[in-house]
């Protein structure tokens, strides 16, 4: 990508390549420092959420719904999925990824084709319900927004709708594939 654009620039404005690269890099240093400040606040708060057992509480609340949606027998896997989804909802990205990997390893049967619960987990993770889009709020704050949190509600609604749609589509596809196999 970079090479292609440099080639393009060689033809249009060869003198500006290095200065533009340095400008961009300077901007990224500035952004990184600003992010560092905001992350410190958010990660501090999120650590409290984790330490107080709030994310586990949320996982417990989600458990019955997960039982219905995934339809798997193993309770240990169910718990991992519940914790993964609740971590995702709270914007704890670093905590949710290892949980999902563990859950997928447990669901792995050795076959090269993904099973329906596996696909469900991936798709739900891709559309995950967001209670707290922390990084987005952080960026808005540093850009000087007057009320950086007013995107929480539309984000929540959007993710709820897409997650429901995702569950529905996965169930539909799974049904079609099953029917195809019978014929």
């Amino acid at each position: 990508m970079i090479v292609a654009s440099i080639c393009f620039l060689l033809w249009s404005a060869p003198g500006s390549v290095l200065s533009q690269m340095l400008d961009a890099s300077t901007a990224s240093v500035k952004l990184a420092f600003e992010l560092c400040a905001v992350y410190a606040v958010w990660l501090g708060i999120l650590e409290l959420v984790e330490a107080s057992g709030m994310s586990e509480k949320l996982a417990k609340i989600l458990h019955p719904a997960i039982k219905k949606i995934f339809n798997i027998k193993d309770p240990a896997t169910e718990k991992l999925i519940a914790m993964n989804i609740s971590a995702n909802m709270l914007g704890l990205g670093n905590a949710s990824t290892p949980l999902a990997i563990k859950a997928l390893q447990k669901m792995d049967t050795g076959s090269p084709v993904a099973s329906t619960p596996m696909i469900m987990l991936i798709v739900i993770n891709a559309t995950s319900i967001q209670l707290l889009p922390t990084t987005v709020i952080a960026l808005r704050q540093t850009a000087g927004s007057t009320s950086p949190a007013d995107i929480i509600l539309p984000t929540l609604i959007t993710t709820i709708v897409t997650t429901i749609l995702a569950i529905f589509l996965v169930k539909l596809c799974a049904k079609f594939i099953k029917r195809g196999k019978k014929i």
């Binding site: 990224s28 990660l43 708060i45 709030m54 090269p112 596996m118 991936i122 808005r140 539309p154 993710t159």
Partner: protein, 168 residues
């Protein structure tokens, strides 16, 4: 209403943690400490993407691409200014955040375009990246319909995000 959500949530979290006999101060410090390594981790990616994006911009390639895709996006009522963001989102997390920052600074943090961008980013995931990482530890090679379904849902999400920002 929305301006009260965060402060109230913070109060709730602190009180709840205190009630659960968690040492608030130490725990907060422990979390805050993690911000430095996190930023160190993502810094090189942000730099690379910002350089790439700047070069792409000034070379005029993105303008061509945006022009090419604009009719499709207009049909879905996604503003043309956000074409790049929507296209880049499934591939890179820190890259799309760098782009979002660019949008915020260009159009102002409280403009309609910026709010759309924020909701789109907040409600989507780096589909390709996440899937690769998740599947890296299993034997699965065929994902069947997982990626298409995820992409459809995230496109619907983008459209909905723009609509909601118009009325909210």
């Amino acid at each position: 209403m929305s301006i009260y959500i965060l402060p109230l949530l913070f109060i709730f979290i602190f009180v709840y943690a205190h009630f659960k006999k968690v040492n608030c101060y130490d725990t907060f410090i422990r979390g805050a400490k993690k911000s430095i390594p996190l930023v160190v981790d993502i810094f090189p990616y942000i730099t690379a993407i910002m350089i790439a994006v700047t070069l792409l911009r000034s070379s005029g390639i993105t303008a061509l691409l945006a022009q090419f895709f604009a009719p499709v996006f207009n049909l879905l009522s996604i503003p043309t200014e956000l074409v790049e963001l929507v296209l880049l989102r499934p591939f890179t997390g820190s890259g799309s955040y760098a782009l979002l920052n660019d949008v915020l600074l260009t159009y102002g943090a409280d403009s309609y375009i910026s709010r759309c961008a924020c909701v789109i980013l907040g409600s989507s995931e780096t589909i390709f990246y996440v899937t690769t990482i998740y599947m890296s530890q299993t034997n699965v090679k065929k994902l069947l319909y997982a990626i298409p379904v995820a992409l459809i849902c995230s496109t619907v999400g983008s459209v909905l995000a723009c609509l909601l920002c118009k009325i909210m």
